[in-house]
């Protein structure tokens, strides 16, 4: 097994894995505890990673992921295609994450603990700078960027996840990139 497969990165290349997990979904519908645990072990890490990217708060992301899984398992009978389990949970979680962000309305600095106590302009590492700039985007723009770049979803999949038209996804992505560029420039110029 290669390291890529071991890392269980959820992309379109892992469709076979989705199919395998579909059997666990069917078993989970019957209340099979072992199948539920397998699904949690497989899908909770990528979901928390995605939500951390959107929410810029790892602890909050874990809470939202947990709520999403609870909701998903409790209404598992409504899922028609077991192969679509992860996209379904991702949709539930992403929407809940955006709702939570709107509710919180915290200051942008509080949303990204990684930058606490540091001046990003003087950080050499690109990761921190990217995280900092990303954390300053509005939640909706951050969500489309993360879904596109981290999950590698296409426009239609992002539209399904966020319940918005495809045209909105395209324009929101461009707006997010423009905003990202402007914020990055401010960061570099030390504004």
């Amino acid at each position: 097994m290669t390291s890529t497969t071991a890392s269980l990165t959820i992309t379109r290349e892992t469709t076979a894995l989705h199919r395998e997990s579909a059997e666990w979904v069917v078993a989970a519908r019957r209340g099979d505890s072992e199948a539920i645990l397998k699904l949690l072990r497989l899908y909770r890490p990528p979901l928390v990673r995605l939500l951390t990217g959107i929410m810029a708060d790892a602890a909050l992301a874990e809470d939202v992921a947990q709520d999403a899984f609870l909701q998903a398992f409790r209404s598992l009978q409504q899922l028609r295609d077991p192969v679509a389990f992860y996209p379904w949970v991702r949709r539930l979680a992403t929407r809940e994450a955006l709702r939570a962000l709107r509710r919180r309305l915290h200051a942008v600095e509080d949303l990204h603990p990684a930058t606490e106590g540091a001046d990003p302009a003087h950080q050499a590492e690109t990761r921190i700078a990217v995280g900092f700039v990303l954390g300053q985007l509005p939640p909706e723009q951050r969500a489309v960027l993360v879904l596109r770049e981290m999950e590698q979803l296409d426009y239609q999949e992002i539209a399904d996840t966020l319940a918005v038209p495809v045209g909105t996804v395209r324009s929101r992505l461009f707006t997010a990139r423009e905003r990202f560029r402007a914020l990055w420039r401010e960061l570099e110029e030390g504004v």
Binding site: R49, R74, R127, F174
Partner: protein, 201 residues
């Protein structure tokens, strides 16, 4: 080089990043000469590398167990998986088979009640005075005739006076003198297949 041109160029870069058509030649030429648009492309590529390369978090396995425990403890919503009730299907099957039986029992009880009510309100039991002239039995409905109306003892406790004008002309007034309904003589007609008619009488 206008701001509008730059914006259009970045829009086309953005589309290309998302798997759209490759940018036209003029956009590539533009990026070579425009610092802002060139930076934009570089920033977006870095953003992609960073986000796609974000490692998976190391999560506590205990949290999975807690989640499972929460699922087993809390009831599911309508249509949800019923983790706490492994006998749900058996109970549903019993319910489906019991429903018609219950309907049958209810219907039978209703019919029995109806019959009992009829028997209890019978003329012989409650109204012995209904043994009127002409009746051979206390249960038999009796009739009297005063010329203008017929007094009929039906199923009600009291006799019902019905004016003759309201009755059909061929109503038989005195069943004790002759049978109320005379059986008409019948002649057998032709058979369906043209057989010869035969007199019965």
């Amino acid at each position: 080089m206008s701001a509008q041109e730059c914006r259009r160029a970045r829009q086309l870069w953005s589309d290309e990043f998302d798997g759209g058509v490759p940018v036209p030649a003029w956009v590539r030429l533009h990026a070579e000469t425009c610092r802002e648009c060139s930076e934009f492309r570089g920033q977006m590529l870095r953003l992609r590398q960073e986000l796609a390369g974000t490692p998976l978090p190391r999560l506590s396995p205990e949290r999975d167990e807690e989640l499972l425990a929460a699922l087993q403890a809390a009831p599911a919503g309508p249509g949800g998986a019923r983790f706490w009730n492994p006998f749900g299907r058996v109970r549903r099957a019993i319910g489906f088979s019991a429903a018609p039986a219950l309907v049958g029992v209810g219907l039978s009880a209703f019919l029995v009640t109806l019959v009992a009510a009829q028997l209890l309100s019978s003329p012989a039991g409650d109204h012995p005075e209904r043994g009127v002239p002409g009746s051979t039995s206390a249960r038999e409905p009796a009739r009297t005739d005063d010329g203008d109306a017929l007094e009929l003892w039906l199923t009600s406790p009291q006799p019902t006076r019905v004016p003759r004008s309201m009755l059909p002309r061929n109503t038989v007034p005195f069943p004790d003198s002759k049978p109320p309904l005379a059986i008409p003589e019948r002649r057998r007609g032709k058979g369906l297949h043209g057989g010869a008619a035969a007199d019965l009488t």
